[in-house]
Symmetry: C2
């Protein structure tokens, strides 16, 4: 009942923080041996392998996983990883982030249940913030996980 | 009373879409001459120059601007652009996006009024989505500007 975090990108550390905060067991699989070493030093379960290959996902017990998170900065690699994960576990929940927003639908077709575009969300929030929409800033703060607790004007 | 969009990155197109949707006048300044040409073909006001230099920002009438949006994929360049913009117009609203979340505070200190971290927001949403929090998915849809209109269960 663990979460598999496949690959390592800009979103990975915020994701790991959330999972650690919620005390959710998880395992990171990335080709980046240096990242694996750093994660290991912090006591985070991780091993170095290509997460779009079958063997590492078997080894990571994908058949027993609660969810799979795919969010590197390389959408082509993400697509391949999603295809592998979906093939090995037709029922697991797979979520992904498209670095290029034009790839949202492709990652969905590859087998992800839910795909977000951080650039689209960020661009929207930034435009609203530029125009002085304080409500959007508050939402961004809440989504970022800081602030919000002391405000009950929702 | 226009918005200045300084630099061009992954967030820029979503930002331009928002401004076009809201019929807000804006001008893009980026060193990327190819992007300027493409924007021009679409009828978008843009010129090629380094937005961290004084002259282009004078030329872009920063003293009359309603807001400044700084969101390239290069946070160092963003910091320099913010410092220039703030120097030339102490009162204009400046919003920025930190590509590396560790730079949020630095961009604030450079003079931005509001700084978001799309990676932090995206990572938070993705982790919540992995754990099956449908409410967060709905928020992401709304923030991304699609869906949401037909749902009134907020
Ligand atoms: Ca991606
Ligand atoms: Ca940036």
């Amino acid at each position: 009942n663990h979460v598999l975090v496949l690959g390592y990108g800009d979103l990975t550390e915020p994701i790991l923080e959330e999972l650690l905060d919620d005390a959710i067991p998880f395992l990171v699989v990335t080709e980046d041996a240096e990242k694996v070493r750093h994660l290991g030093e912090r006591g985070v379960d991780a091993f170095a392998a290509d997460p779009s290959d079958d063997e590492p996902l078997h080894r990571a017990k994908i058949s027993e996983a609660r969810a799979v998170v795919v969010a590197t900065n390389d959408d082509a690699q993400d697509a391949l990883t999603i295809l592998t994960a979906r093939e090995l576990n037709p029922d697991v929940r797979i979520v992904a982030a498209a670095t290029n927003r034009e790839n949202v639908e492709k990652l969905r077709r590859a087998g992800a249940d839910s795909v977000i575009s951080p650039a689209t969300i960020g661009g929207h929030l930034l435009a609203e913030s530029a125009l002085g929409d304080d409500d959007t800033e508050r939402i961004a703060d809440e989504l970022a996980g800081d602030g919000g607790d002391d405000r009950d004007d929702r």
